[in-house]
Amino acid sequence: MSPRRTETGGRIDRLRTIRFTFDGAAYTGHAGDTLASALLANGVTLFGRSFKYHRPRGLLAAGVEEPNALVTMLRGEVREPNIPATMVEIYDGLVAVSQNRTPSLAWDIGALNQLGGKLLSAGFYYKTFMGPVIGPLKGTRFWMFCEHFIRRAAGLGKAGTAPDPARYERMNAFCDVLVVGSGPAGLMAAKAAADQGVRVILADLEAHFGGSANWSGEIIDGMPAADWAQRAVGQLEGNDNVRLLPRTTVWGYYDGNTLAALERVTDHKETPAKGEPRQRYWAIRAGTVVLATGSFERPLVFPGNDRPGVMLAHAAERYAVEYGVLPGQRIALFTNNDSAYRSAVALKKAGATIVAIIDVRADISNDMRRLAGEAEAELLDGHAVVATEGGKALTGLKVQRFDAMSGALSGDERSIHADSLLMSGGWSPTIHLASQAGAKAEWDPARQAFLPPKPTQRWLGAGAFTGSFSTAEAIAEGRAAGVSAAGGTAAPAALPTVEAAPGDPDPAPVFEIKAKGKSFVDFQHDVTAEDVRLAHREGFISVEHLKRYTTLGMATDQGKNSNVPGLAIMAEALGKPIPEVGTTRFRPPYTAVSIGSLAAERFGDLKPERLTPMHDWHIANGATMYSAGLWYRPMIYGLPGETVEQAYVREAKATRESAGIVDVSTLGKIAVQGPDAAEFLDRVYTNMFSTLAVGKARYGLMLREDGLAFDDGTTWRLGEQEFLMTTTTANAGKVMQHLEYFLDVIWPELKVTVTSVTDEWAGAAIGGPNARAILASCVTGTAVDNAALPFMGIVHGRIAGVPVMICRLSFSGEMAFEVYSGAGYGTHVWEALIEAGKPFGLVTYGLEALGTMRIEKGHVTGAEIDGRTTARDLHLDWMLSKKKPFIGSAMMDREGLIAPDRLELVGLIALDNRPLNGGGHIVEELDEANPHDSLGHITACCYSPALGKYIALALVKSGKARQGTRAFVSDPLRNRFGPVEIVSNHFYDPDGSRMHG
């Protein structure tokens, strides 16, 4: 038996032992334990080291608000830092490690920071490191020197570098009523709404529904509250219109009642079931939301309140009742309100000795005196804790007389021996989601808490969330909210009865005990009460500035414990009431959200892929695939032992010597049809299309409205009113949207429809001196000679029985043809072409050879049409019609777009015969140590088999005028420097005699 485990009680399964490790040591726990409860049961008190001072820290809470016990979870090589141990369900083989300590949790070098505590107060970094550089180690330069060491010493867990193999999913859900929180209020709301027959989702961030019912020890409907909750969950489970989402944190409340939630599907499992994601991101659109998110108990601020062994009162109650673990044997409680008395009784029942209840109030009700008696605790009314003792675990505390009105301490200090000190500073409703949804929270002086704002969206509140802290109120409000959210009217049926300990929900307005020593407000960011006052003395009067200067509430827990005490201390310093100081608005996410869940299907095996009809053939025939956007295209068809360069040089050379074939199915294809199709194309292209004859194609260029180049491609006139437009692969979607916008919004009078047909056609481009002979040997139904199929001509025929459309156009610069067939017959036609090409030595080539041949020809692609270049920059001004206006024509002649020093397209030849790199800069003077004055940059480069040289395309300032001159490539990143010659971008066959044949 573990030293702190109770004999009975709790919902853990004592028959099932779970083995796990923490910081390399093996431990056991029981099924149902969290990492926190299991370690606590093993007598572990030290869970982490604090952010700045490296102070030893133990468990403060039992739930999601835990600021101290953050651990890094390890799964293989993958590490996930900053997870509250209170939220980790243990499983066999779990591995967790503590954080922010060197070399170990017990012996931490960084704890020396405590000696220099004054130095590390609020604004330490600004004061020490910012400002003018006076000496060699002053100001910002000093920061740059120290940053590395400070970043190592201060902080939380370290992120891993291994890729995350886990799968994440996204789910869209719709419901009439979303209930957030499954305590008595949430369960009643879900049940009431479900009974009205509407679609209900119930989400709770804990593994087990029930909320406070799981540990309150109250009696509901004559049965223990935990049993009542399980019965209610059982009733909900049977309903078709109810979806239950345990382990699901609703973390964002957005416009239109859209909420974001994270379901931790398999984080608690040793191995996920087949197909199960690790986490699931839910986008929930709810008719009405019932916020039953409960409340957080607040710590009290007093010297030594962060020592391991000091815990929130309800957390201890929860560990004892829900997990069967006592946080200590000799327990003292320190409170400003009635709720701690119930905790004392519960812990007494669980077997602990309650040595004292220290209450800041002098006036204690008879009910509370009776509870103190029941706990057999000494009641020290009108007292406060002024110090705690012990090292890595609490050994005792000191108390003094305290006047709650003035905050004054008096009398002698008295020592109390205790191994656990539980504190309760009142309760703050968990209003985060309501705050995210809109309006500002309102301060309630009686509850000493911010209560939820007036709804600006369709939500209703119930239970502790609204400041109604009793279970009876929660049940009544929950049912009313559920009925109302479902659009029903309240049934007169009796509400469940509740037997609960008495208690006044209003605490004394005491947040801090001012005595000597560090009193922590924000445990996770190590912000003390003195830091808050220091910020005030230095002139920070706005709560928003206070937050940023002290970093109060900016840690991973986002101030769940520290928000209200911090404000109260600030308000006191300012001499203003709390509502005048105001509160900061809560923003999503409520708790940390994994990036993986947000990326979801955009990565991994759920990511969509676009494959051409011939994809499998490419794979089967040795292609190395390359991903271009969502598309996969062959990069090379390498032979055994070939490098990439050897492969593409072979492919390009063979194409120019005989023939090559490439899959061009990825090109964007848009059918432009209608009586006004030709007129429309005249408006969107810079050149004329209305004059194009049926059965002919033309190369076209589009500009954007601002006059810069947008996209290029060929458009084929298939009929008087029918065109087939092709676009670059990357811009297919953008061009489609551009055309649709103009037709729908600007020129609705044009009778034209545009249809994306990219996926309807398979395309193969076959080029080279023997390309025509190959086609002639396999095409039936049409001739392909110069007369029947001139340059830019289109014919219809058949290959292997399948109808094809052939257009004679060339990207490679060779005599070339694009053969289009229905996508379903793509491989059939491709294979027929391959077969026909065998006698001619036809090669398949990939993107690398395609790129090489286009660089040799000086054609532009997206690397040159980069959104900053004009038609003139690319020497395409011959395509700018003067006979008609077109999109971009009015703006393209603006001063800056026709300036003589613009970057213009040129060719480069490496004079040192070494490869060039994309992105390398071109300079007039080579200065390797201090590169300067870039003339432009390389956009594409290759080894040219046609020239036998390393060449490139580049955008160079006044490039046209520089042709024939020398310059240098300067690429310090890759240490590539050397002389180049600037030449025309048309390296190969500049007059086009090869493609015209």
Binding site: D255, E705, Q737, Y741
Partner: protein, 92 residues
């Protein structure tokens, strides 16, 4: 945010693509008035309140909608086809 497409009904904003300020006036195609072109291409209203916007139902019927949206509350006040017609008012 929900946008009511006259064809498809109320749909999540994720299905739509924002296509800019709906107040822009494109000059006549042959116009050489650079100031007017400049205003059309670059000037955008940025009101805190009701704004006339063009949205494309790109994940649906691909129609362009003229949407009046409150930029402060994200409330959609009306939607209609950008070509005109089928206006739906939604402010209650």
């Amino acid at each position: 945010m929900l946008i009511t497409c006259p064809y498809c009904g109320p749909r999540d904003v994720i299905e739509f693509t924002y296509q800019g300020d709906g107040n822009r006036q494109r000059p006549q195609p042959a116009s050489q008035n650079l100031d007017a072109w400049n205003a059309y291409v670059y000037d955008r209203l940025n009101p805190a309140g009701d704004h006339n916007e063009i949205w494309q139902h790109s994940g649906g019927c691909r129609a362009h909608l003229r949407v009046v949206r409150n930029t402060v509350t994200h409330e959609i006040l009306s939607t209609e086809f950008a070509r005109g017609g089928h206006k739906t008012e939604s402010r209650s």
